[in-house]
């Protein structure tokens, strides 16, 4: 899922300072799972923002709404009926949701309440970790199911570098060396000889973010 976290509340307060009537829009998908922008977080944030506004002797009207997803036009359209009554939409969906709000409601500022960070999963309750950087050319079958682009700080394809120490990355001793993990896994799978001794060719980055904004079209699914 997409993992995001709440912006510091001071930053959000500054963003909404000039408004006194806003929509606070959450999302029931990824950001709900990582406890950043789901229905509960909408309630908590709305309460905190109203409280903060009260300390300045002013009021803040917040329309709380949590959409099924903020990345689908039909759900985003769901607030069409009342959006025009508000001065801004504070979205605590991921960056996609904020932009969808902006695209659908062109005359109302769309504000990000979260910092969207990475594609990852849960390790344990309260801990989420990055696993995928969307390079567009997946090679997990060649690296024992462990991504060198994401889990190696240098995205080496012929790693590890000379800074790998006791299975940890030189950049941060709390991060595991991605290539140590890959080597260990290849051994467990009996694929070490087959996979590790070959030279990994240079990557085509044009399918990743470096190629510019990406679009996927499925002709078979279009009406």
């Amino acid at each position: 899922m997409i993992v995001a976290e709440a912006k510091p509340i001071e930053e959000v307060l500054e963003m909404i300072d000039r408004y006194d009537k806003i929509i606070l829009a959450g999302c029931k998908e990824c950001v709900a799972v990582c406890a950043a922008g789901g229905e509960k977080e909408v309630q908590l944030l709305a309460s905190a923002l109203r409280t903060a506004r009260k300390t300045t002797g002013r009021e803040l009207e917040i329309r709380e709404v949590t959409l099924e997803r903020q990345c689908d036009p039909e759900y985003v359209e769901g607030i069409r009926g009342f959006a025009g009554d508000y001065q801004a939409i504070l979205s605590i969906a991921c960056g996609v949701g904020v932009q969808y709000m902006a695209e659908h409601y062109k005359t109302i500022p769309a504000l990000p309440g979260l910092n969207t960070s990475f594609m990852g999963g849960s390790l344990e309750q309260g801990v989420w970790s990055e696993r995928c950087q969307g390079c567009g050319t997946c090679i997990l079958h060649l690296t024992g199911g462990i991504c060198p682009i994401t889990r190696c700080a240098k995205s080496l394809l012929n790693g590890p570098c000379g800074g790998s120490a006791k299975g940890k990355c030189e950049v941060n001793p709390e991060i595991e060396c991605g290539w140590q993990l890959i080597i260990d896994r290849l051994r467990e799978l009996g694929e070490f000889e087959a996979r590790y001794t070959e030279l990994f060719p240079i990557k085509d980055w044009s399918t990743s973010r470096d190629g510019g904004q990406r679009t996927i079209i499925r002709e078979d699914l279009k009406p």
């Binding site: 509340i9 001071e10 409280t51 300390t55 300045t56 002797g57 002013r58």
Partner: protein, 94 residues
């Protein structure tokens, strides 16, 4: 609202096993939010006691009342802006 206190069972004696520990964490989290909003986090406290500790219950109520009285009305009540800046209090205490 100028103060809130949360009363939970003594640690290790929660009927729901870990409910009081979770509450402690959440109280800590909310204290952080209050500080960020410029509200003195001491207005929110958590206390642990058992249902049999009537005397302690009274003590706590008095303690909390005195604390809030000393702090005065909260910024939410007065609407006169921040009463607290996170980090400053610690420096003054040094």
């Amino acid at each position: 609202m100028d103060g809130v206190y949360v009363a939970g069972c003594l640690e290790g004696e929660c009927h729901y096993l870990r409910g009081n520990l979770r509450a402690k964490k959440r109280v800590g989290h909310v204290q952080g939010i209050l500080a960020a909003l410029g509200i003195n986090p001491e207005r929110l406290q958590m206390y642990n006691l058992s249902a049999a500790m009537g005397g302690r219950f009274v003590e706590i109520a008095q303690e909390m009342t005195e604390r809030v009285r000393a702090l005065g009305p909260s910024p939410v009540t007065t609407g006169q802006g921040r009463e607290f800046v996170a980090g400053e209090q610690e420096e003054e205490g040094k």
